[in-house]
Symmetry: C2
Amino acid sequence: MAASEVPGADHVTLSHEQLNVNAAVEAVTSPSCGAVSLFVGMTRDNFEGHRVVRLEYEAYESMAQAEMKKICARARCLWPSVGGIALHHRLGVVPIAEASVVIAVAAPHRQAAFEATAFLIDTLKATVPIWKKEVYEKGQCMWKENKECSWSKTQEYSTCSSSSPSGVCHVFYFFTSIYLSFLLLLHKYYFPKPSVN
Amino acid sequence: MAASEVPGADHVTLSHEQLNVNAAVEAVTSPSCGAVSLFVGMTRDNFEGHRVVRLEYEAYESMAQAEMKKICARARCLWPSVGGIALHHRLGVVPIAEASVVIAVAAPHRQAAFEATAFLIDTLKATVPIWKKEVYEKGQCMWKENKECSWSKTQEYSTCSSSSPSGVCHVFYFFTSIYLSFLLLLHKYYFPKPSVN
């Protein structure tokens, strides 16, 4: 394994390709770090009794990358001994038993590496704007912001034919149309045309 | 990544070859597990102010493998949801920034995977009969049982020319020579030759 030339660097990527765990380890490895802790999130074949056939991920990419870099910085404040950090997230279709996210953290000793890894996956799921669609075997699907996310508004189950309706877009259009209707009514009844003298 | 055919299996190996983190992930991956937690232990270039140039590992192999299987079983008792477990330990020379141990644990959810991984590396270091020699840049070296091991008797620093003196062998020969000297003295003073009539 090649040692990273910049031991304290953050390696943040969003990619439509398969993730490589060895590459994440290589990115964070340095001669001064004796421990690398990793978390790999996989597509599971079930969710609350439903048979899942695949996941599909979408992200607001520039915002997601900026947020991922912020949580790396927060981890470094909390565990100053941490060396390299890799946050690699896959987008698009992720089949069963393939990785959607790989997190690797190097540190001189394992305690800091373990704690920072747990913090990074918890915080990534809570704050980074990445949505996933669970596709079930009977053609149903569900778009989700992360279940653990404070601003999550998970959509109800629906039979979907379109390939990429975003939950956030639906919510946005719904509230925008209500707001515009309200403005029209306000204009009609409370601000009548001035009379011509 | 291929999903493991036996999701609940233990994959325990001792090897003189370089360890492969992707292989450990593949060994434990299964369709029902959404989380894989890993720990990779690397050779660090320093120890308590000494510049380390390499590590060398020796094991009582059959006993080490049996002990590694035992700690997998203990982890399964403590975290029954755990799927595959991989414990891969390298023996012989491990250069700086290469892996000496890779632990991978799969589980449906990440909490169990994280906790089991931390337990496995703590317990492996405390109970498995694997010794390491730290070789320093000025030709000094030190054989160690693990520092965290309850029965550890780390040897003093010594300038070594031989390539594989084991700490355990030194202790064994020392106590054997004391025991034999004691037997000789006992025989000479308390069991005198019978007189000839």
